[in-house]
Each structure stands twice: as structure tokens, then as C-alpha cells.
């Protein structure tokens, strides 16, 4: 593999998007939990929920700042490193990005100011409204960016203008609601919800194990467990629908996900590998364990219906099979883990003993790594599986880079991002753990604008 401008630009894109994508799903997921917890405060007047909401807002602000700082890189990078792509697709791809700025970023950033700086400036209701708006803004932002990316996966609503050598829009509606948008937005949101829930579960479990903030930690834990269980189960359903959609719209990608080199003969089903090592040389999966006909069943509810294999595509149109397969299976594995662990915790919750299961709480402390891996692996699967196309079936990634940029320049910027992001990551972990060590603080009853909204404030100290 030669490290030319093209490969270096891909490397940089992978590095910067993977680092960026640690934060936005956490922002979205946490924002939902903040809406619930702040809503509980308004509804019940329980001061502990206010303390919880303030605590999460502080952490949220740090996560949000990391998302903003790394997000602006992404918007610049289409132009800096993928100029040919930008020229080819700008007519179609540019408008969702601009819409994201106008509709989502302004909304988010304005109301975030109220969230972080406004506790004593606005009423409790207005603050709650702002939390809802930040959450709404984060969701709008994810919609527009997933629209843009889905258009790369399943382009629709455009024609190719041969004279100008570019794609031009014919229907904005068809572009926005291209065949994969809705499935992918849902799946991204569920991934975000799982991450938010596991993040809260991890920190509350940590408090519970150390006997700190016990009452508040129990409240947070229960809210997060309910959300996490629902999202984990829903992600399974959404993932299933999305995989079927990939099979219909990007068959080579699905074949790579499943390591399906050969299309089964008529009347024979395609196997479903639980794990394995796809081998491009022998065109088979080594060390694998498969459910016979399993893939056919998932796709067509019949064990005997053939599924299109990679042999139906010329080799130059194959995605990297092994990478796609492993990323996809990594996502599935953690997804199954989320369902198992949350259902188990729900069982103990139902029995009334969940907070006595110290081993389970320890598992939850570390389980937050799972959704980070799941979100990253899911995106890797989506993006690697789309290769060798930057716009599926339309423009190859290898033709899309910037002719005006030299390899040396990209080496410089990769070095810069590596250093910068390593440093940012360490500082982020450090500050988050400081804040978590400090924990939520129950404030005195009279806290300006807020006391008005309370009915029967509960001033009792935590246990």
C-alpha cells in the first residue's frame, strides 16, 4: 500500500472522524437523559433531580465543546483533502451541510448558552425548555449529516451533468429521503441513546460501589437502565431492518459484512457467520462458525433463498472484505452484550436486588466502553463497506482527492491531528474524571429563580 496523497487523506479522514465520533453520540444520548432528569425535577420538585441535572449539564458542556472543536475539522476537510469530490457533489451534498449550520448549529449553540450559563438567569421552565431545544438541535444536526452521508451510500434525486462533470440535484426531497436515510438516522440515534445510558450507568454504578451520592446515584441508575434497555432492544430491530436495506441497496457491502463470497445456488441458503476470518485468496471464511441458511432467513425469512455474493461483482468493486466483516461483527457482538446485560439488570431491578449485585455494578462501570466501540465499529462498517466508492456506484474514492495538495502537507496535518487529539483525549479524560470524582452537589433550598417552581422541596441530605 503506497502512502500517497490519496491514502494519507483517507487515513486522516478516518483518524479525524473516528475521534470526532466519540462525542456527538454522547451529546445526543446524554441530552435525552438530561431532558428526563430535569423534567423529573420540574414535575416532582425533588431537589435531587435538580442536582443531578446540574451535574450532567457540566459534563455535557465539556463533551459538547469537544464535539464542536473536532467537528469544524470535518467540514473543512471535504474541501481541503477531497476537492475533486467537493466539485463533483457540491451541488447535491453541500445543501444538507449548509442546512445543518442554519437549522441545527445555531439552535444548539444558543440554547447551550442558557443551559450552561443560565441556571440563575432564567426560570426553571425556561431552562428545561432550553435543554429540550439543545437536544432537539443535536438531533437535527445528526439528521442532516446522516442525510449527507446516506446520499453517498444510496444516491438519489440527482442527474449527472456530463458537460460540467458533476452531479446536480433534481429533487431535494428524494435526496433527503434517499433509500437509506431513515434507517440510518434511527440506528445512529439508538446508538447514541445506548451510549448516553451506559455512560450514566457507569458513573452511577461507580458511586453506588463507593457508597457516594447513593440516593441520587440510584435515581440516575434507574432512569438510565430503563432508557438503555429500551434502546438496546430497539437497536436490534432497527439493525435488522437496516441490514435488509443494505442487502437491497448495496449488495456488495452486505456480502462483505457477512463474508459471503459465493452466491448460493438456487434453493440453497446463505450461512450466517457468528465469527470468522474472511480470506480473499480462497474466497471463504476461515475459522468461522456459521448458522446454515441464517443469512437467508434474516434477509428473506426463508432458509433457502439465495443472497447475492461477492462473485456477482468485479473484484475492483469489492470493499475490503475482512475489515468490513470484523467491524460489522464487532458492532453486532457489543449489541448483543447490551441486550444481555440490561435485561439481566432489569431482572434484578424487578426482584428489588439490583443494587446488591456488586459484580453487576462493576460490569456497568466498564461497560461504557462497549457503546463507544459499537458506534465506532458501526460507522467503520458503513464507510469501509461502501468502498471503493466515495459515492456508491458513481464516484470512486481513488479519484476524489485534492490534486493541489502534496503528500508532505498531509503528513504534516496528520502529525498535527495525532498530537492534538492525543493531548485533547488525555485532558478530556482527566477533566471528566475530576468532575465525576466531585459528583453532583445538593444545593441550599433558596436558589434564586429556581425555588419558585418547586413544590414541597425535599431538603433531606443524601444517605
Amino acid at each position: 500500500m503506497e502512502l500517497d496523497v490519496y491514502m494519507l487523506s483517507r487515513l486522516q479522514f478516518a483518524l479525524t472522524i473516528m475521534f470526532h465520533y466519540l462525542f456527538p453520540p454522547l451529546t445526543i444520548g446524554l441530552s435525552w437523559l438530561m431532558v428526563i432528569m430535569e423534567g423529573m425535577h420540574l414535575k416532582t420538585g425533588d431537589r435531587e433531580y435538580e442536582a443531578i441535572a446540574r451535574f450532567w449539564t457540566e459534563l455535557f458542556a465539556v463533551v459538547f465543546a469537544m464535539g464542536v472543536a473536532t467537528g469544524i475539522v470535518m467540514e473543512f476537510q471535504f474541501g481541503t483533502n477531497w476537492a475533486t469530490y467537493s466539485r463533483y457533489v457540491g451541488d447535491v451534498f453541500g445543501s444538507p451541510l449548509a442546512a445543518e449550520g442554519i437549522f441545527a448549529f445555531f439552535l444548539e449553540s444558543s440554547f447551550l448558552a442558557v443551559l450552561v450559563f443560565g441556571w440563575d438567569r432564567v426560570s426553571a421552565r425556561m431552562h428545561f425548555f432550553s435543554t429540550c431545544m439543545v437536544s432537539f438541535g443535536a438531533m437535527l444536526s445528526s439528521i442532516w449529516i446522516v442525510v449527507a452521508n446516506s446520499w453517498q451510500q444510496t444516491p438519489a434525486g440527482f442527474v449527472v451533468n456530463e458537460t460540467l462533470g458533476r452531479a446536480e440535484i433534481t429533487s431535494f426531497r428524494a435526496m433527503v429521503f434517499n433509500p437509506s436515510t431513515v434507517h440510518r438516522v434511527m440506528h445512529v440515534w439508538l446508538g447514541a441513546g445506548i451510549l448516553g445510558a451506559f455512560f450514566v450507568l457507569s458513573i452511577s454504578s461507580y458511586y453506588l460501589l463507593h457508597g457516594r451520592h447513593t440516593r441520587m446515584a440510584r435515581k440516575m441508575f434507574k432512569v438510565a437502565l430503563a432508557v438503555g434497555t429500551f434502546m438496546s432492544l430497539a437497536a436490534l430491530g432497527s439493525g435488522h431492518l437496516q441490514a435488509k436495506n443494505v442487502g437491497a441497496t448495496q449488495p456488495a457491502k452486505l456480502a462483505a459484512f457477512e463474508g459471503l463470497y459465493k452466491t448460493p445456488a438456487e434453493g440453497e441458503g446463505a450461512p450466517l457467520y457468528l465469527f470468522g476470518l474472511p480470506n480473499d485468496e480462497t474466497e471463504s471464511v476461515d475459522f468461522g462458525f456459521a448458522v446454515p441458511g441464517g443469512l437467508s432467513f434474516l434477509m428473506y425469512e426463508s432458509f433457502k433463498t439465495p443472497v447475492t455474493g461477492l462473485d456477482q461483482f468485479p473484484r475492483e468493486d469489492w470493499p475490503p472484505v475482512n475489515l468490513s466483516f470484523q467491524a460489522y461483527h464487532m458492532m453486532l457482538t457489543v449489541g448483543v452484550f447490551f441486550i444481555g446485560i440490561t435485561l439481566l439488570a432489569c431482572f434484578f431491578w424487578w426482584r428489588g436486588t439490583v443494587f446488591d449485585q456488586r459484580w453487576l455494578l462493576w460490569v456497568f462501570v466498564f461497560a461504557v466502553i462497549g457503546p463507544f466501540i459499537g458506534n465506532e465499529a458501526g460507522w467503520c462498517a458503513a464507510e469501509i463497506g461502501r468502498q471503493p466508492w466515495i459515492v456508491y456506484g458513481l464516484l470512486r474514492t481513488g479519484e476524489a482527492f485534492s490534486p493541489a495538495v502534496s503528500a508532505g502537507q498531509v503528513v504534516f496535518s496528520i502529525g498535527m491531528f495525532l498530537a492534538l487529539y492525543t493531548f485533547m483525549f488525555l485532558v478530556w479524560i482527566f477533566i471528566m474524571s475530576k468532575k465525576i470524582q466531585k459528583g453532583p452537589e445538593l444545593r441550599e433550598a433558596a436558589s434564586g429563580a429556581h425555588s419558585g417552581a418547586l413544590n414541597g422541596a425535599d431538603k433531606s441530605e443524601e444517605g
Binding site: V62, A65, V68, A69, T70, I72, E75, F76, F78, G79, T80, N81, A83, T84, S86, R87, V89, G90, D91, F93, G94, S95, L97, A98, A99, E100, G101, I102, F103, F105, F106, L107, S109, S110, F111, A113, V114, V116, F117, G118, R121, N161, G165, R166, E168, I169, T170, F172, S402, P403, A404, V405, Q409, F412, S413, M416, M424, V427, I431, K435
Partner: protein, 341 residues
């Protein structure tokens, strides 16, 4: 009116909005090292706390709108100015996280590190914006390569004397703008000190303003083309000069609000002058005018421009509503006992 023309104006509005709004918080960053006391530094950070993030969205939206409306310009300029943009990103990232992290730990070494990151990030970003404007004025070494207009210079081609002068001018302009903003946001002893700086920041601004004006008139030949065709355009330059002169006048009358409005007007009018110089081009080729990227050969299809116009018409009233709401909620002086940063 042609859609291409409308989008030239809309991009101008986004750029002017960015310069006007982020200008003051970048300016606060540039002035940050000049206050020493930790509490005072926190006042400075909190004066821009609720606003800086929203202000930066104007830049992001400007970038997105340029991508959508003039993809050829977005691709040529962003890939051509690669190294400069990477430095800009580095500066903006440092700035964003230093604001968020600085006061999270009560430790002198930590705080002074982030203080410098914030100041340098703000200064470098401002300087680079100015250098970019300077290059827009002089034109860039771009020419046709394989059917597209590509940048054929190096990073150091961007750093000519005129471009650097415009960079320093922008630094002075934002420092003054931020200074005037701080006059509105501080009180007590800090206010007196900040107020005392205005003589210096205004002088710095005036000197560089005159230098850029003279240099532009003397050396940038094509800068006057549109003014020769439409002499009424000189009115904008005159009003801009009047706005600048109104700054010391308002300060002398002890009306910092009017001074801030004057510097805001000057920034918007300077953007208008930039637009007038470029019109109808977006990128001027310093090699041959036949390689210019203008609003017609760089634009998206009319359909996209129309869709984008709908998006802008729907979105802009919302943006103005949130922005004014935030500036209203957080009006007045910074309250020291309720600081977040």
C-alpha cells in the same frame, strides 16, 4: 435578480456577521494576556462565555453555504490553502477547548497554560483570517489544471507583505472591537483599566487602517475597477471612515455602546468594500484574469441555489430570533459571583 448574485450577497452577509460577532470574542482573546489577575481573566472569559460558540457557527455556516452555492470556490480555495487552513483549525480547536477547560482546575500552571492557548489561538486565527482577506484582495496563483482551477503556489506565496499587513490590521481591528465590547461588559476597577486601553487599541487600529488603505490604493491595481465603474460606491468607503472616526468621539462622550456600534458598522462596511473589490469574482487569479472564479463559472445549478435560498429564508429569521434572545438574556455586566468559566 440572478440567484448567483443573491448568493454572492448572502455569503457576504454571513462573512460580515461572522467578522462582526466572532470579531469581538477573538478580540477579547487577543487582549486576554493583558489582564493578570485570575478573577479578572475569568471576567473576560465569562463576558464571551454564552456567545462565542454561536458566533463561530457563522463561520461554519459560511463554509457550508460556500460548499453548496459555489463548490468550485470551496474546493479550489480549501485545497489550495491547505496548510494555512490546518493551522487555522489548530488555533480554533485550542481556543475552543481552552475556554471550556481553563477554569475547571484551580492550579496556576494549568490555568496559565490554557490562558496562553486561548490568547495564541485567538491571535493566530485572527491573523490568518486577515491574511486570507489580503490574499482575496491581491488574488491567488490559480490556473486551469485538468479542467479545474487549481492553486499552483506554495504556503509562503500567501505571506506577502500586503497580506501580512492586512493580517496585522485585522488583529488591530478585532483587538479594538473586543476592547469596546469589554467596556460594555465590565465594571468597577477593571472597567477603568479596560477603558484606559482604548486609546492604544484605537491608535493601533487607525495606523494599520491607514496603512492598508494607502497600500491598497497604491498597489492593488484591480481594487479600484468597480469604484471607477460605479463612483457612488465610494460612499461606502466614506461612511466606513466616518464610523471609524465616531469611535474616539463616542468614547470621549463616554458612550461605549455607541463606540461599539461604530466599530461594528466599520467591520460590516469593510466587508462590503471587500465584496465590492471582488465583485463579480470570488477568486481572482494573479496569473491571468481568464482563470478567475466568478459567480457564474463557480456556482451550483439554479435548482440548488433556489433550494438553498429557501433554506436561508426559513432559517435566517430563526437564527436572528435565537441570537437576539441570547444577547438579551445575557445582557449587562458580567456577574462575578455567578461565573461558569
Amino acid at each position: 435578480m440572478d440567484l448567483e448574485v443573491i448568493w454572492f450577497f448572502l455569503l457576504g452577509i454571513l462573512l460580515a456577521g461572522y467578522a462582526l460577532l466572532d470579531g469581538f470574542d477573538l478580540g477579547v482573546g487577543i487582549l486576554h494576556p493583558f489582564v493578570r489577575d485570575d478573577r479578572d481573566r475569568r471576567v473576560l472569559l465569562n463576558s464571551i462565555g454564552p456567545f462565542w460558540d454561536g458566533n463561530e457557527v457563522w463561520l461554519v455556516t459560511f463554509g457550508g453555504a460556500m460548499f453548496a452555492a459555489f463548490p468550485e470556490v470551496y474546493a479550489t480555495v480549501f485545497s489550495g490553502l491547505y496548510t494555512a487552513l490546518m493551522l487555522l483549525l489548530c488555533a480554533l480547536i485550542f481556543r475552543a477547548i481552552s475556554l471550556e477547560l481553563r477554569s475547571k482546575l484551580d492550579q496556576p500552571g494549568w490555568r496559565s497554560f490554557w490562558d496562553w492557548a486561548f490568547a495564541l489561538g485567538s491571535g493566530v486565527a485572527t491573523l490568518l483570517f486577515g491574511v486570507a482577506v489580503g490574499n482575496a484582495m491581491t488574488g491567488l496563483p490559480v490556473k486551469e489544471v485538468n479542467g479545474h482551477i487549481e492553486y499552483v503556489g506554495t504556503f509562503f506565496n500567501l505571506l506577502g507583505p500586503y497580506q501580512l499587513l492586512v493580517g496585522v490590521f485585522t488583529l488591530a481591528m478585532f483587538a479594538l472591537h473586543g476592547n469596546l465590547y469589554l467596556c460594555l461588559k465590565t465594571d468597577g476597577e477593571l472597567h477603568q483599566r479596560v477603558r484606559g486601553w482604548t486609546a492604544k487599541t484605537f491608535t493601533f487600529f487607525l495606523v494599520t487602517y491607514l496603512a492598508v488603505t494607502v497600500y491598497t490604493l497604491a498597489k492593488i491595481g484591480h481594487a479600484l475597477d468597480n469604484f471607477k465603474k460605479h463612483p457612488t460606491a465610494w460612499i461606502i468607503a466614506v461612511i466606513c471612515a466616518l464610523a471609524v472616526m465616531n469611535i474616539p468621539r463616542s468614547l470621549a462622550k463616554n458612550r461605549p455602546g455607541a463606540a461599539f456600534l461604530s466599530s461594528s458598522a466599520a467591520i460590516v462596511l469593510l466587508n462590503a468594500l471587500l465584496g465590492l473589490t471582488l465583485w463579480p469574482n470570488l477568486v481572482i487569479s494573479s496569473i491571468d484574469p481568464m482563470f478567475n472564479l466568478h459567480i457564474y463559472n463557480a456556482a451550483s445549478s439554479p435548482k440548488t441555489l433556489k433550494i438553498m435560498l429557501t433554506i436561508a429564508l426559513l432559517g435566517m429569521p430563526l437564527v436572528l430570533a435565537y441570537t437576539s434572545a441570547i444577547y438579551w438574556i445575557f445582557r449587562g455586566k458580567v456577574q462575578v459571583d455567578k461565573m461558569t468559566y
